[in-house]
Every structure is written in structure tokens, then in C-alpha cells.
Amino acid sequence: MKTPMSEEEHEMTIAEAEPVQATRPDTKLTVTQLGKTYVTGKESHEIFRNVELTVEPGEIVSIVGPSGVGKTTLLRCLAGLLEATTGEIWIGDRRLAGPVPEMGLVFQDYSRSLLPWMRSRANVALPLESKGIARAERNRLAEESLAAVGLEGAGHKYPWQMSGGMQQRVAIARAIAYQADILLMDEPFASVDAQTRFDLEDLALDVRRRLGVSIVLVTHDIDEAVYLADRVIVLSGKPASVVDVVEVDLGRERDQLSTKALPAFAEARTRVLRQIRRP
């Protein structure tokens, strides 16, 4: 059972870990003393405080916690959609002040963020238009990203012609085509059925393996959090704060059957659960 490590110990462990296929330098996400307080009139609600986390290039970090604790708020701060009250967010050596090209967001409700008047390929290519990329290149990137998520040849379909799982793949493809180095996912697999969820979880691992992106995943599903992550951040309390950081020592190669049977899986899972349910 590992205890939360200090920064230096953490640095050493990364050096000893298996090398990732493709690493993107300067995309380490560093969060220091992050806090968010909503001020409405005379009242103020502190959502979370003193959140510290780091995500190395190519890492997957899960954020779990009870419902309503503020996980989504935290993610929105990370994405630059919401301004944090205290603390700083750094990508590499640049400070975050709003949405950046290095981060791609995958929302929970995919159907509401995919545009129904555009085919899926156009949906994937849309952010690239704003980046000023030429059409031929855009389409190529879109097609590649769709292929990377297993939707090769489905680019001509409209989102409403696709199942929930496929739509979520399109949303992931959009984040990939955007050339994001860091994927932020807000309960991305919550709205699909269990079988599709397993497929999508494996897809996330696959994407990380092939493209070397880092992923920050917010989820309420503890199994999912442990299965995917290199590290699980447990958020709890009111106001919320990081109550535990659980290192997940299951190796980089994982699959739904064997990994979940490992004792290390159960241990990590139990520990996380205990932290969440602690009153």
C-alpha cells in the first residue's frame, strides 16, 4: 500500500517507469493551491480549496469523489472555462489564463456538444477551422482521428444517426484532432451502457498509448477511476479538498478481465472507496 509521495519521490518514480511511446515535452500540467469560491451577493460558497496535482506527459489521472463535491467545477477550472479564486495552473512553463490549444475537453453529455447540423467529420474538424488550418489538412486530420477512435468511414454520418457510444467517440476524436496534449474528460462514459463503457475505457488507454496524450478524467465510478489511472485523486469534504492520492501500480498494459482480477486493483479500489465514504 503506497502512501502519498512528496514531489521529489514522485519525480524519481517517473524516471524509473516504463517509457511511453510518444511523449510531448512541456505539457506537464501543474496545479498549485487551487481554490474556487462562488460569491453571490453577501454569501460565499467555497467549493474546493488547496488542490494540488501534477500530470506528467502521458499520464492518466482520475479525480473521484462523492456526487456534488465539485469535481466538475475543478475540471472546468483546469480547462480554463472557469476562473479559479486562488492558486495557479501551469502547462509546462506557461501559466493558464483561459482555454488553450494544448487541452481538449470531452464533456459528459456528448449529444449536447456535438452539432446536429454537421456530419461527424465536420464536427471533428470544426475547432481546426478556427485554428486556420486549410481544408484538405483539416479533413485529413479529422479522418485520422476518427480512425484512431475506431470510427473509420463513419465521417459522413450525422451525430443523431449514431449510438451514444459512437457519439462519445466522435467527441474524443474531436479532442484528438485538435492536437491536444492533455485531454480533460468530465464523466465521459457515464451516459452509455456498461459494455460500451468498457470499450470506451479501453479506447482511452489506447489513445494514450498511441498518441502519448495525458488524460485527466473526472468520474464517480471508482472501478473506472482505478482501471484507467496511474494515479487517483480523491476529492471529498465540504469545502472539498484532496483527501488522498492513490498510486495505482497496475502497469501500463491493462485489460478489463485480467487487470480487474489483480489484488492490487482491489486494494486501490478499497482504499479509494474508504476515503470517499469517510464521513
Partner: protein, 282 residues
């Protein structure tokens, strides 16, 4: 599917809470609106003073205000006002009496509804004011003719909305009433009418606004007594200040009618929800 896009119910501003930004809190809203109002009047005054638009189109705001207020004291104005309102409401009453039963029946019998669909679409999209010349030929230029024309114009919202409402009667409910052998009257009054009532009320509200529009148009073109002909007279007599004053009065009449019918619609639905007889007022 909306039959007619009704003038949306003008609802009160949402009650502000601690969360609300400055332009939603009661005072902030008032100030904002006042500022806009003052700005509009200033631009208007400037335009009139500097003659950006011909005087006959845009007299000074002060002149219009004076005319607007002056009308309040004129008995002739109120007579016209009541004439227009009266004609509109009379025609609306006729439309309700004809439109609701007809709508319920048509809604109940799908083959009939399909057969009449073309006619209904045609009637709905027919600009009733185009009928004015033939109506004048047939009935002369008087108040009765005006009521007939307005009736022809406001029948459609009431009729179509009632059809729509009665078509939406849950087939399960309909089968149940048939299975339990409810008498036709009870089915009509206690089942069909309440089901169609909300839609009918919307249709009546729309018809209310349309009735004033058509009434004024008839008065304007046929010179039957009312606000419309007063406006036309003011314009011919080269009193644009009065013409615009009439315009504003007509606008307030329109808003007033809309509020009134929205109020009635809300009340009627409350009674309906309480299960009173067929949504009809006691």
C-alpha cells in the same frame, strides 16, 4: 407544431435573488430601461429637430406626447376606442362560438380533418384584409361588415388550435370513455373540452390580438368609425403628431389585450387543473 406563433405572453421579470447580476435586480433593471427610454426619446428629438426624416413622418416627441395626452380628454377618442375594441371583441365572440364546436368535431374525426386540411391551410394563410373590397361591395362600409371581416380573420387561430387540442386527446382516455359508455355529452364536456382547453385558450389569446389588428386595418381602408379611421384622418389632415399618438394608443391597446387574455388563459387553466367543469368559468 405551433399553429400561429402567438405574441409571447409578456411575463413579469423574474424575482431577483442574491445570485442575480446587476441588470436583473429590480432597481438595476428599472434604471437600465429608463436610460434606454431616455436615449430613444433623445435620438427621436434630435431626428425631428434636425429634420433627418420628413416632418410628416416624425414630428417632435413633445408634440406627440401632447397629442397623446390630449386624446384622453376627448370623448370622440374614447368612442372610437370602444368601437374598435367592441368590433374586435364581438367578432372574437362569434369566432369562439363557431370555432370551438367546429374544432372539437373536426379534431375528433380524423378523416374529416384530413379532408378539410387544405381548406384550413388556405383559410389560415389567406390575408383576410384582401376580402375587404368584396365585402364592401356586398355589405357596404359599416360596422357590421367590419365585424364580419374580423370574424373571418380571427376564426382560424381559435379553430385550428381547438382542432390541434382535441386531436391530442389521449387515445387511452378516449377508449376508456367509450368502453365505460359515457354519454356523448359527458365525453364532450368532461373529457374532450378540458383536454383541448389549454390549446383553445392559446388560440383565443392570439385571436384577441389579431382582432384588434384586423379591425384597425378595416377602419383604415374602409373608413368605418374607429381608431383606424381616426388615424387615417389625422394623417390626411396633416396632423402627424396625432397620427403617431393614435399609433401609440393602438400599441397600448394591443399590449393590454394581450395581458388580459394571458391573465384569462392562466386563470382558466388553474380552474381546469382543479377539475372544474370542462375548464369553463363559473
Amino acid at each position: 407544431m405551433a399553429i400561429l406563433s402567438a405574441p409571447p405572453a409578456t411575463r413579469a421579470v423574474p424575482v431577483p435573488g442574491p445570485d442575480t447580476p446587476w441588470y436583473r435586480r429590480r432597481l438595476g433593471l428599472l434604471v437600465g430601461r429608463l436610460v434606454v427610454g431616455v436615449a430613444i426619446v433623445l435620438v427621436w428629438w434630435l431626428a425631428a429637430a434636425l429634420d433627418w426624416l420628413p416632418d410628416t413622418l416624425l414630428p417632435s416627441p413633445l408634440a406627440v406626447l401632447l397629442a397623446f395626452v390630449a386624446l384622453i380628454g376627448e370623448g370622440a377618442f374614447w368612442l372610437s376606442f370602444l368601437r374598435t375594441l367592441g368590433n374586435g371583441m364581438a367578432a372574437l365572440g362569434l369566432a369562439i362560438v363557431v370555432g370551438i364546436p367546429l374544432g372539437l368535431v373536426l379534431g375528433l374525426l380524423p378523416p374529416v380533418e384530413r379532408a378539410t386540411r387544405f381548406l384550413l391551410d388556405l383559410g389560415r394563410s389567406f390575408p383576410v384584409i384582401a376580402l375587404l373590397p368584396v365585402m364592401i361591395l356586398l355589405l357596404g362600409a359599416n360596422g357590421q361588415m367590419e365585424i364580419v371581416v374580423v370574424f373571418l380573420g380571427v376564426l382560424w387561430p381559435v379553430l385550428l388550435q381547438t382542432i390541434y387540442g382535441s386531436r391530442r386527446l389521449d387515445p387511452v382516455v378516449r377508449d376508456t370513455t367509450r368502453a365505460y359508455r359515457f354519454t356523448l355529452w359527458i365525453r364532450f364536456a368532461k373529457v374532450l373540452l378540458p383536454a383541448a382547453a389549454p390549446f383553445t385558450m392559446t388560440g383565443i389569446r392570439v385571436a384577441g390580438s389579431v382582432s384588434i389588428l384586423v379591425a384597425m386595418a378595416v377602419e383604415l381602408l374602409a373608413w368605418t368609425p374607429g381608431l383606424g379611421s381616426d388615424l387615417g384622418h389625422a394623417q390626411i389632415d396633416e396632423r402627424p403628431d396625432y397620427a403617431l399618438a393614435y399609433l401609440f394608443w393602438a400599441g397600448f391597446l394591443g399590449i393590454g389585450i394581450n395581458y388580459l387574455f394571458q391573465f384569462i388563459e392562466d386563470r382558466a387553466l388553474i380552474w381546469n387543473a382543479r377539475g372544474d367543469q370542462g375548464g369553463m368559468a363559473r
